[in-house]
Subunit: 358 residues, 2 copies
């Protein structure tokens, strides 16, 4: 194990019970029947525990969208050609992608990170270059990355989360709530391999159509993942081993983001299937990350259900999304802000002179 | 039937098929796999059909929250005393209620309407006075309202929707998307009576705990509604008859809002159980209203499921809410704005130079 990863994990504390008690007590004094705002109330209490603040306020949401390419994509596991990964990075940078629209809608900034796109991208002021390699290797033949690459990718995620959270090192105020997002043609394949390994489900149970392969493509994808898991035999209890053998650079980076955010008591709203696979890796490295995670939505991609069950998190939304990029996370962030504002801004029965339950 | 109601219903047109086709075609050109934004895509197409615009833009959301009292509340069907209705109206006017917090969060204004609170409320610049009477009559003994009162309440809703939508008659720009909300101690009881009648379910199947009555209170509430339906025998095919016998002034007003909005091609995001009962009345008066309705969420209140099934609408959210006031509608409006922005603001494959599916 590595110093930065270990050091960061060692800083992760349990949720703050005092702040949660205070939030719970305040919810019961607000001018509404007890529990009438359901998930918004429980979410506000979780946010209090995460931030260790009885009335957390969020003003600087940021979505970290990480891009990477996958050697396995050469095996025809995606409906789209691999050149779409860099094309979509440019689309993110020019503000025309779904994540840009939804992030603007919810008032979040988007941080685009090249974790391992398979082409050299021109420098751009809004692009964070954390490229580990020009895509992973084809894991149907060899491990996706070296042990050193896996560590460097997780470390990069920790560093990026820390930089985004810290006000002094960044042009803008530090982010106080993070969302995760991904872009990488072929990346539902490593995500399914990770999910099957960690949740101990069959490959078939956790492998879907991604961006839209047909029946034959899906059968080929399942068979390829089964053969790869047979070849590499990743250790279900060793998240770094899984990353090396069947992972992806953006997945490793997102796991690092989650670890880095948890160490700084910043909530992380996780997007769909690929972010979920990263969450499995993050919680594999450090189970203490789990309470810092908020599942934005339930993806159409079938493996996502297995992830949510394994992580014991209940998604906020179920809108048949399967895009990634952080699109579900953006909508989830808006609900987190709503929950925190309810806790902070509503009048109490005493404030408003409203009679309580008889 | 009445002139204003009939005239307004006569103006309601089917959704605009050309706008929907254009929206559908554009969705398929946007830089994402076909259908990858799920409900946001279908919602954007519905919004195009409602507004008859291929790329609808919404900048002026408004939530109309109507308050009324209920004679039936004297029978102990609520966990809260009836004085809470006017107290909560004041809380709305001073900005401390949940609906104020969530409306601010999503950028909507709130229009508070007194449809029939059981006390004289002092004039307030932000309170619309449309009081039909000082609460309905106790429908365990007599009809809740007269035929004339029912008509006037629906008309008031039509007039208020029209005024809010029309720019020239209001200080602000006209609302381009509406949400509905309610306040009225005891109002899950008329809502359950309406729901049982129109959806032809048993009272037990559609009656829940409201703001939180205990087991004995729930049994009493069910028995009372059963006796009232037995006494009045409302005609399931006559929405005005149902309103008169077991309705409420805020429910009638909200039905009018839905009819008025549909006639002006303005989408209506309906909140939970009480708004749902109003939607049953609105669609009973004019089935053509249905495609203009967007169900914000699935309430904890069990009768809401029967309403959603009867109306054949799929809710956007399922967050265990049971507050009313328009709180779910506020969150639903935010998703409608997100859906419309996706359709309007995203780059196409051609715009962004992104390769299409192979």
């Amino acid at each position: 194990m590595n110093n930065l990863i270990d050091e960061t994990i060692a800083k992760i504390q349990p949720l703050d019970a005092n702040a949660m008690d205070a939030a719970r007590a305040r919810q019961d004094q607000l001018t509404k029947p007890h529990g009438a705002l359901g998930r918004l109330e429980t979410l506000s209490i979780q946010l209090a525990g995460i931030t260790a603040q009885a009335r957390p306020r969020f003003t600087q949401p940021a979505i970290i969208t990480m891009a990477g390419d996958h050697g396995i994509a050469r095996q025809g596991v995606s409906a789209y050609p691999a050149e779409v990964t860099p094309q979509m990075v440019f689309n993110f940078l020019s503000g025309g992608a779904a994540i840009n629209v939804l992030a603007r809608h919810v008032g979040a900034r988007v941080v685009i990170v090249d974790m391992g796109v398979a082409s050299e991208l021109p420098a751009h002021p809004d692009l964070v270059n954390a490229k580990i390699a020009l895509g992973t290797r084809d894991f149907s033949r060899e491990p996706a990355m070296t042990h050193d690459e896996a560590i460097r990718a997780v470390e990069a995620g920790i560093e990026i989360a820390t930089r985004e959270i810290t006000p002094s090192t960044h042009a803008q105020d530090g982010a106080d709530i993070l969302g995760t997002g991904d872009m990488g043609i072929g990346n539902t394949t490593p995500s399914a391999a990770i999910t099957a390994t960690i949740t101990r489900r069959t490959v078939k149970e956790v492998t879907g159509r991604g961006t839209g392969v047909d029946d034959a493509g899906l059968a080929r994808k399942i068979a390829m993942i089964e053969r790869a898991l047979d070849l590499h035999k990743p250790d279900a209890n060793d998240a770094l081993d899984i990353l090396c053998k069947v992972g992806g650079f953006e997945i490793a980076g997102l796991a690092g983001v989650m670890i880095g955010a948890a160490a700084r008591r910043v909530p992380v709203v996780i997007d769909g299937f690929i972010s979920g696979a990263a969450a499995l890796i993050a919680c594999g490295l450090a189970p203490t990350v789990q309470p810092y995670l908020i599942a934005a939505h339930r993806s159409v991609e079938i493996g996502h259900r297995a992830i949510l069950e394994h992580l014991r998190v209940e998604p906020l939304l179920d809108l048949d999304l399967r895009l990634g990029e952080g699109t579900g996370a953006a909508l989830g962030i808006s609900l987190c802000l709503a929950a925190a504002k309810i806790l902070d801004e509503m009048a109490t029965f005493a404030d408003a002179g409203v009679s309580e339950k008889s």
